[in-house]
């Protein structure tokens, strides 16, 4: 049975070759040519120190597919001198031949091997590269990656998720038992009935735009849940709705939602698949088509609820130009100013997610909003404590305050 610390023929060959190159090169290094003029071209090879103190450690909290390497770079790897052009990582897998797994630039002092396998044993070496040679570091001890079943580095995230999730579930349960919960008024949602009524009175259609993302985006889901509430009102008022979409799955989901709203309202015959049509997945192709629809059909009301990107202002300004009442909402902070500037009402961030619960007036859904508020209250307290501690710690050099800041950073850091 092979000893784990033995050096394989592959490594031996590599080391002997390097040694031979050094022996052959050393006498010629710096020799003068026959004409007595020193030229660098006569130098066969530049000698540099090899990297040192190479260690390999198992990467913590992974599935056994990562090993971390760390070393001290060659002392000749100095700024401006440039004799070391980079580093080459060698890996020997289960006593096999050493293979190159990565080439790194000069100054590198660490590497993460993300292609290891459970049950395999690895030995690593790092070579400092010059223009013509390699200078090998020590070999690491043989190491096998290990699998961890629980990622304890995310323990604080788990506790925060437990707190917020627990608060949401707790308030849903409280609401289920019949306790009345206060939820502040959201102007944009209060205006939904008026907006639908306006379209009914004017005899013009309502345009619903669910953003340009697919069903795997929670903003699209939020937009569609609001569509469920709005389309019931639309069906009750017997108004026309049109929903151009940029994703096929959103089209099928949108059709199901509107169809069921018309059925609930007792007007199934009024529903048509043409109310929801697929345009294109291309962002600006979709915008061009929707702008065209707006200008031709002149809807009285436009809902822009979902995930929007650069097209947000183009759509909202066109809606503004045709004089439609516009209710917009997105969870992308970069697009919010555009909606605020161009639309009558804007659901800012969390209001988009709260909208369906708010419109449904379902106590259980409203309970979840209260749970969300607990999360916000905790965040506010932590921010105030953190700001005060950081300010006092910096201003008066109070070590306990600085420690508190460090603890908060550890708990809430996402990196």
């Amino acid at each position: 049975m092979r000893s784990r610390s033995s050096i394989s023929p592959g490594w031996t060959l590599l080391l002997v070759t390097t040694l031979l190159v050094c022996i052959v090169a050393a006498p010629t290094f710096g020799q003068m040519p026959d004409d007595g003029v020193i030229t660098f071209e006569d130098t066969v090879q530049v000698m540099v120190a090899a990297p040192t103190s190479l260690i390999a450690t198992d990467h913590k909290y992974d599935d056994g597919e990562k090993i971390d390497l760390q070393w001290v770079p060659s002392i000749d790897d100095l700024p401006g001198i440039g004799t070391v052009v980079g580093y080459r990582i060698y890996r020997q897998d289960d006593g096999g031949v050493a293979e190159v797994i990565a080439n790194l630039p000069a100054k590198a002092n660490h590497y993460r091997d993300e292609n290891t396998e459970l049950g395999h044993t690895y030995i690593y070496s790092v070579a400092a590269l010059t223009d013509g040679a390699e200078f090998m570091s020590n070999l690491t001890e043989s190491i096998s990656p290990e699998r961890e079943w629980i990622d304890f580095s995310k323990r604080y995230l788990f506790l925060i998720a437990l707190l917020v999730g627990g608060a949401v579930i707790y308030f849903i349960e409280i609401a289920r038992r019949g306790k009345k919960l206060f939820v502040r008024k959201i102007a944009g949602l209060e205006a939904v009935d008026d907006a639908v009524g306006r379209a009914t009175e004017m005899g013009r259609p309502i345009l619903f735009i669910p953003g340009i993302q697919d069903m795997d985006d929670v903003q699209t889901l939020a937009g569609l849940t609001i569509l469920g509430r709005i389309s019931k009102t639309i069906a009750d008022y017997d108004t026309e709705i049109f929903m151009p979409v940029s994703r096929s799955l959103v089209m099928t989901a949108g059709r199901e939602i509107i169809k069921s709203s018309y059925q609930t309202a007792g007007r199934p015959e009024k529903y048509s698949d043409n109310m929801v049509t697929y345009i294109t997945d291309e962002q600006f192709g979709y915008v061009a088509a929707v702008d065209g629809i707006m200008v031709r059909e002149k809807p009285a009301t436009v809902f822009l609820l979902g995930a929007f990107f650069a097209e947000s202002l183009i759509l909202a300004e066109t809606g503004n130009y045709i004089g439609a009442i516009q209710i917009a909402g997105t969870a992308r902070p970069a697009q919010l100013p555009f909606f605020i500037a161009a639309c009558d009402f804007t659901l800012i961030g969390e209001e988009l997610f709260a909208a369906s619960a708010y419109l449904s007036e379902d106590p259980k859904a409203l309970g979840s909003l209260k749970g969300q508020d607990v999360g916000k209250a905790v965040a506010m307290v932590i921010i105030v404590v953190g700001v005060l501690a950081a300010t006092m710690g910096q201003a008066w050099d109070i070590s306990s305050m600085n420690s508190l800041v460090d603890i908060l950073k550890t708990i809430f850091s996402t990196s």
Partner: protein
């Protein structure tokens, strides 16, 4: 049953994905589910494409307003489908990547779709101007403050801002317009953005829990009772 099965799948997959964040052997589960979603979305695309053709053929047949545009749409759709499926002009032949340089499909993308998209994107500049004009009218106190902040940032990001206040000594450099612009962006703007982001994150958590627990079920279609 039609509603119970989707609700169970949502609960099971949602719970599994939450726990996968904390269990390293399951950490790639999210990516795998994304792949499943992509596969489903590809099949759903046939529905979308079918709908597109049906709508425009119907528009043509009934000679609805602007039916001429439907001809362009159908020809464009059919042509791209044809050159993409048969890989016309593709240097690597039928086995090569559909977007290989030189293929008709890629050429159409480079010389037709890209310029058209850029044209639409360019419209944004004009829309920003008209929206800014409305947003920055000093109608009340808040709008006036907004106008002043916008003016400082606009000046601060141009050479003119630096030229106008270059004479201010270094000890009072905070009053140089570019520094004021940075201060507004890094203090007020960033604080506001982070507040919104915290709200959004909590909103996503609450929304996700409503979906996982089956409290929110409108997205499935049908009434939401129960």
């Amino acid at each position: 049953m039609k509603r119970q099965i989707p609700l169970f799948i949502t609960f099971f997959v949602g719970t599994l994905l939450i726990f996968s964040v904390f269990i390293p052997p399951m950490e790639t589960l999210g990516e795998n589910f994304t792949l499943f979603f992509d596969i489903i979305a590809v099949f759903a695309f046939f529905l979308g494409a079918g709908n597109l053709v049906r709508v425009h053929v119907s528009k043509l047949r009934k000679r609805k307003a602007d039916w001429g545009f439907s001809i362009v749409t159908l020809i464009g759709f059919g042509f791209m489908l044809f050159v993409g499926l048969l890989k016309i002009g593709n240097p690597g032949g039928i086995a090569a990547d559909v977007t290989a340089p030189g293929s008709w499909f890629q050429e159409m993308f480079n010389y037709v779709i890209n310029p058209l998209q850029s044209t639409m994107y360019a419209l944004l500049a004009f829309f920003v101007a008209s929206a800014s004009y409305r947003a920055f009218r000093a109608k009340n106190r808040e709008a006036t403050i907004l106008l002043m902040a916008a003016f400082v940032i606009l000046l601060g990001r141009t050479p003119l801002g630096m030229m106008l206040t270059a004479w201010i000594p270094d000890s009072l450099s905070i009053f140089q317009i570019p520094n004021m612009a940075v201060w507004i962006m890094n203090s007020f703007n960033l604080a506001g953005q982070r507040a919104i982001l915290i709200g959004i994150s909590l909103g996503v958590v609450a929304m996700s829990l409503r979906l996982i627990l089956g409290v929110e079920r409108t997205y499935l279609g049908g009434d939401d009772s129960g």
